[in-house]
């Protein structure tokens, strides 16, 4: 439900700005945020994340790009990167001294989706526009990090 709401907020903000300003990928921040607390010992593991990212990406592409697969590819790759990287960190290491890693994984969710299709299909990465997108994403990433460490602290208590 949270992911649907985040997807809608991202969509509404994009409508509001009319494409004049790049909106942070709130949906993928939500997916990565949940993945950081996910336990893959349950029955379905992290499959929800893979298919949520896939569905979210398809719907985003249908709404804003017109070419399904454009952002979907990046969303799925981000999820796989997070699952692999976070999986090799032992649970004890995830709660202490991992702020840089958390930042990198969250940044991945903003960097990879718009970049990957361009790198595969070719074309202009947008230069300054791409850079501005990353700048706009920074507050959202930092806020997500704050939320993450708040939740970690609450869990430890």
């Amino acid at each position: 439900m949270m992911l649907i709401i985040l997807w809608l907020i991202q969509d509404l903000l994009t409508v509001f700005t009319g494409g004049g300003m790049q909106i942070p990928g709130l949906f993928m921040l939500g997916v990565v945020f949940r993945l950081l607390f996910s336990d893959n010992n349950n029955d379905d593991g992290n499959l929800w994340a893979i298919w949520s990212a896939f569905a979210g990406g398809i719907l985003w592409d249908l709404r804003w790009v017109g070419i399904p697969g454009f952002f979907t590819l990046g969303y799925v790759v981000v999820v796989l990167i997070v699952i692999q990287v976070w999986g090799i960190i032992p649970p004890q290491g995830r709660v202490s001294g991992s702020s840089l890693l958390v930042f990198i994984l969250l940044e991945c969710s903003q960097l990879v989706p718009p970049l990957l299709p361009v790198l595969i299909l070719g074309g202009n990465t947008g230069g300054g526009y791409f850079l501005m997108q990353q700048v706009y994403s920074l507050p959202a990433i930092l806020f997500t990090m704050y939320m993450y460490f708040q939740k970690v602290r609450d869990t430890q208590i």
Binding site: L8, D11, L12, L13, V15, F16, T17, G18, N40, N41, N42, D44, G45, N46, L47, I50, W51, A53, F54, G57, I58, L59, L62, R63, G66, I67, P68, G69, F70, T72, L73, V76, V77, V79, L80, I83, G87, P117, I120, L121
Partner: protein, 255 residues
């Protein structure tokens, strides 16, 4: 056991999702049906997106209004400046016209009475309503305003002088465009009142009638600033005006 099985499942599902995404990326642009799906999804999202659309329209309307307001303000400033320079031109033209009239002796009247008891207040001239003299008509000497017609009879008229204590007209300092009131003191002096202090008014600046007065046309030259008279406690300064006309020695006037 469960962990490794989950890892394998995640890998398989991830790979499947990747292949699907790549497949869609490769083939979807060539599919005609994709446009219909895109349109359909856009139509579905129309309802939840509607508040954002409305807010965007409101924001754009506000931004447009704000921009228009700024444009309007700058246009008003430009027109004000243009108006000030036009008024200055008008004043020059009016002055030239008066000088010219004076030279041609057109509309000239002779001063027939200047009573010692009201020496600085009024004069009588030998022109009246038969010469198209009307009440309020400005009276000049040497091209400068010296008063205005106060009473008209058929053959003669009375003109109130600018030195009269009851004479008050709005005036403007041409160089600074400051507005004030020209008033006489009944003793031969002419003062410019109600000029805010510290506006850079200096001696020698020209004073003429202002457009805000209904009784006299704007731009009629009166004289020049002679110096500061006093500064009131209310922050307004009174200046002494040196009339352009010699009020002690005139035998004829123009109107």
């Amino acid at each position: 056991m469960d962990n490794s099985r989950n890892n394998t499942r995640e890998f398989v599902h991830g790979l499947t999702a990747l292949i699907l995404a790549l497949f869609l990326l490769g083939v979807s642009s060539g599919l005609g049906v994709m446009k219909s799906i895109v349109d359909l999804w856009g139509a579905v999202l129309f309802i939840p997106e509607y508040p954002a659309v409305v807010m965007r329209e409101i924001y754009l309307g506000w931004r447009s209004w704000s921009r228009d307001k700024n444009l309007l303000a700058s246009e008003v400033t430009r027109l004000r400046n243009e108006n000030a320079s036009l008024r200055l031109e008008l004043a020059k033209i009016a002055g030239e016209r008066v000088f010219s009239d004076d030279k041609n002796n057109a509309n000239t009247a002779r001063v027939t009475l200047r009573a010692p008891m009201s020496w600085w207040s009024e004069i009588r001239i030998d022109r009246g309503s038969k010469d198209n003299i009307t009440q309020g008509l400005p009276v000049f000497s040497g091209g400068y305003l010296i008063g205005r017609v106060s009473t008209v009879s058929m053959l003669s008229s009375w003109a109130e002088l600018i030195t009269s204590s009851s004479f008050m007209i709005p005036a403007v300092i041409e160089e600074t465009r400051e507005l004030g009131v020209v008033a006489g003191d009944g003793s031969g002096s002419v003062l410019l009142r109600y000029i805010p202090a510290g506006r850079g008014v200096r001696a020698g600046m020209k004073v003429s009638t202002a457009m805000i007065g209904e009784e006299l046309p704007p731009g009629l030259p009166i004289g020049q600033i002679a110096g500061e008279f006093n500064i009131g406690t209310d922050g307004y300064t009174t200046y002494r005006i040196e009339p352009g006309a010699d009020l002690s020695r005139f035998y004829t006037v123009n109107y």
